[in-house]
Symmetry: none
């Protein structure tokens, strides 16, 4: 058995549990841009990971190296070996799996979906959609179908924090006619509908449209019939090597929308502060969970 020669990356990950908080933080920093950061001076690495110099020194020894230079020289060996290896031809995603492995095939397809989807999207329309969703003068209704209600709820959960006046409707439930009574002109519907397109969803969209609501539609490349009524359609490619369709791209657009709406709601000034706070928050989390 010619076993995989156990890279340093592997070794780090294995030991991850035996490491202390600061060490783990350092480990992640090393893996973050591997192996480049490990090849620089120890001091730089320490600063990069926001840990002290002794922490680095202590850890490399914990990992079983004689010292930092020893660690580095093994890293270089590894790099040398990898450069010789012909495996990297087709960049596989999961390097340790053959390219026919489901992990690689699936990911290939998803990346392809993302590329196609983003390549064809209309940024203006997207921005308009975000603006509509961000406008808390309008009541926001979020609608999903049998499967897509999970995406709808995902959007709902986040919007709940960002703005008031939102409702999550499941088109497959029979309670939704209720909600429609209250719909006012100018309210916004975010509707998820991918194949197989659901009749209920279409009906719901029609009624909403009839009441003068704006409709933003998340759909697939073949476009749900709701498309006819929608003010803005965002269609994603959803084809993967599976018996089912992929919701990954749709979720990507959804998350992007969440982020964009958040920014709009907070105003330009706070945007940067938020980014900072995020980083800070992240650091705190590192400290908290050891």
């Amino acid at each position: 058995m010619s076993e995989a020669p156990l890279t340093i990356s592997d070794r780090i990950q294995e030991k991850l549990d035996d490491l202390t908080r600061a060490e783990r933080q350092l480990a992640h920093s090393i893996l973050e841009n591997y192996p480049a950061s490990g090849l620089g001076p120890l001091t730089a690495l320490a600063k990069d990971a926001n840990v002290s110099v002794p922490t680095v020194a202590r850890m490399v020894q914990k990992l079983g190296f004689k010292g930092y230079p020893d660690f580095q020289s093994e890293l270089r060996e590894e790099l040398k070996a990898k450069a010789k290896d012909p495996i990297e031809k087709h960049d596989t995603w999961a390097e340790n799996a053959p390219s026919e492995h489901m992990l690689n095939r699936f990911t290939d397809a998803v990346i392809d979906n993302i590329r196609h989807t983003l390549g064809q999207i209309d940024p203006k329309g997207f921005d308009e959609a975000c603006a509509l969703v961000a406008d808390d003068q309008r009541h926001l209704y979020i609608v999903g179908g049998r499967i897509t209600h999970t995406l709808a709820e995902y959007l709902f959960l986040h919007m709940q924090v960002i703005r008031p006046k939102i409702t999550h409707i499941q088109s497959t439930s029979n309670t939704w006619p209720h909600y429609l009574l209250d719909v006012k002109e100018g309210d916004v519907f975010v509707i998820y509908d991918v194949r197989r397109y659901e009749n209920n969803t279409l009906k719901l969209a029609e009624m909403a449209h009839a009441q003068g609501a704006k409709i933003i539609l998340f759909t697939d490349q073949w476009r749900s019939p709701v498309h006819q009524l929608a003010d803005i359609s965002l269609s994603s490619r959803i084809v993967v090597p599976s018996a089912w369709d992929s919701a990954v791209t749709t979720m990507l657009l959804t998350e992007t929308m969440i982020s964009a709406v958040q920014n709009l709601s907070w105003g330009d000034t706070k945007e940067r502060m938020e980014e900072l706070e995020e980083m800070f928050d992240q650091t705190k989390l590192f400290r908290k969970f050891t």
Copy 2:
């Protein structure tokens, strides 16, 4: 247009004619296993190339670097950049939007997450997890938290079609102690837990573990504490330019699992046929929609 930023390798080759014999010898040695040898100590490089130390020092300056350390740090930069590149290639995703547009920034981050995640995943563990989930002798419990229950439900909805004996538990609900009564040794728990990790989820995992259940954990790069109890952990990078974390990569893994489990459930014989058919199918689709 932003041309490729001229690697050090390029620079060396360009200057090759201006170099003297020993320097050329050195240059070739550097290119021989590039960039590894350039990242070691100057002395080692000199010995490797069978040239003297001053020759190396003289050459790096001739190449326009301030000194050997300068040369090295540029090499590291290059390596870092290259590691990021394989598919990203700085082609902006939404071509009609500027690269600072949220669509592009967000997608960049997500692709990066996917690459990191897949790069570090253990395919063996993944396969084992799929086998466990596919085994319909075992009852399958799917658990999600406040946000992640949407992912859990997504998995649940698909598994429902593929196999019997599954239950979707929401860790935030107070009904879950009920279910645990029925858990038998060998049953399987698929648990979603990303930061901020939920106490309920941990408790639930502990009880499941105590009853001898297998645990498969979907978590983030920092790993939920449930990790300690899990038989298999699948961790995803979740960092995006947003106030929230991204679930896209986790969903990608989930969908991949669904697809893999589906294949397993159809029996070994049909598996390959199906794969072929899939590929064929995929090709057809490519032709159709391009």
